[in-house]
Amino acid sequence: MISFRIDGHSVVPPYLQIVQQVRQALRMGLLDVGDQLPTVREVVSATAINPNTVLKAYRDLEREGLIEARAGHGTFVRRRPPGPPPGTHARLGRGLARWVREAREAGLDDESIESLLRVTLRAAAEEEIA
């Protein structure tokens, strides 16, 4: 069973934080097909967010086909999000860690690294469009 962490100061709305955390847990292999998600009551007791926020997140994930509600039993993982198998993330993460070390040695701080990543992502997106 996973638990959710809701950041009240994030610009990402709470329901989307739940959606992203479920997708993330599926990609990282923390959640697998058939696993149960916490009930709405469990989530709101622990996080003090509005029950409708959790329902909205679960509805979105259900519409995406990733989870399913089984009446009287709870909510379960139906399938993984499309994308590469879990090992891919770990491998790319190691590569990125090497790159971050290199960037730090070159004198970049976290803010510069983040903005470089953002600029690169945007340039890559524009290249795809063009």
């Binding site: 622990a46 509005n50 029950p51 909205k56």
Partner: protein, 311 residues
């Protein structure tokens, strides 16, 4: 055992738990609440926000049937609030000072409640308090403030009210006790689908747990509606110091803040922002609240607060 219900989704606003029209309360010459028209659908957790003396407690007391309006209408759970057992059985009201008998234990309170209330789920109180590791047999005066607030909330929930009115219940609690109290509240809403109105100054807590908003200032309603929709209807506009009449013509300006170089506006949108000189950003509940509280003349949108204006 606590009954399980599906929480009504916010897509379809259900029947209104609270409906007021032109609700007014005067105490002698003092107007505590003026022309208050609000609506709260069933199953919502509604934040009641406003500066001290804005009329929050007056509104809660009118909704609970503890006082009668000077003018206007109020309907709660489909009927007019009054001091009779049939109405009061569906209302939970927790006053600011948390009224418990300090020498009695939670278990004593559970037994007293069983005599005083037509519906009483004693087992739910024991389950909730045991879950929170609060001793049932200790005098409540010996519990911490946070635990006392949780005992009071669990007792009110045992009444199985359809509408729960809470007047600054978390003001005196530390962050952990606040989180536990609001978690207990959210759990009850998820389980029983009751409606809650919660007054507080702690905007960050309210933004997490609430999905509806009533904002009062100077005895008048400033805003009422679905919290997400209200936030989506407002923007902060930041731009150069220049003529803002075009913006003022097309949107409702809540607050203007001018410095020699820059103008910052809080606006309620009425269509897209056309002026490219202004950068629009989303508002947080805190910015929304401060913007409306900062207004000089809340009832008169034409008059604006101007801060830092060069003479």
């Amino acid at each position: 055992m606590i009954p399980m219900h599906e929480v009504p989704g916010n897509a379809l606003p259900g029947p209104a738990a609270i409906e007021t029209t032109g609700l007014t309360k005067r105490y002698g010459k003092v107007t505590a609440l003026s022309g208050c028209t609000v609506s709260v659908p069933e199953g919502r957790i509604c934040a009641l926000i406003g500066p001290n003396g804005a009329g929050k407690t007056t509104l809660l007391r009118l909704l609970a049937g503890l006082s009668r309006p000077t003018a206007g209408q109020v309907t709660v759970n489909g009927t007019t609030p009054r001091q009779d057992p049939a109405f009061l059985a569906d209302i939970g009201f927790l006053a600011q000072e948390i009224p418990l008998y300090r020498r009695l234990s939670a278990e004593d309170h559970i037994r007293v409640g069983a005599h005083l209330n037509p519906r009483w789920d004693a087992e739910s109180v024991r389950e909730r308090l045991t879950g929170l590791k609060i001793p049932l047999d200790r005098a409540v005066g010996k519990l911490s403030g946070g635990q006392r607030a949780q005992v009071a909330l669990a007792l009110i929930l045992a009444k199985q009210p359809r509408l729960l009115l809470l007047d600054e219940p978390v003001a005196a609690l530390d962050p952990l006790a606040r989180r536990n109290f609001l978690g207990l509240l959210a759990d009850a809403v998820a389980a029983d689908g009751l409606t809650v109105v919660l007054s507080s100054h702690l905007v960050a807590d309210l933004e997490r747990v609430c999905d509806h908003l009533i904002m009062l200032a100077s005895s008048r309603v400033q805003l009422c509606g679905d919290l997400e929709e209200l936030l989506a209807e407002h923007r902060i506009l930041i731009g150069p110091r220049k003529d803002t009449t075009a913006i003022e013509r097309s949107h409702r300006v809540v607050q203007i803040n001018r410095t020699p170089r820059q103008t910052t506006l809080l606006v309620r949108l009425n269509g897209p922002v056309a002026d490219p000189a202004f950068e629009a950003s989303d508002v947080s509940l805190e910015e929304l609240v401060l913007g409306y509280m900062g207004q000089d003349a809340p009832s008169e949108p034409a008059q604006l607060t101007t801060v830092g204006e060069e003479q």
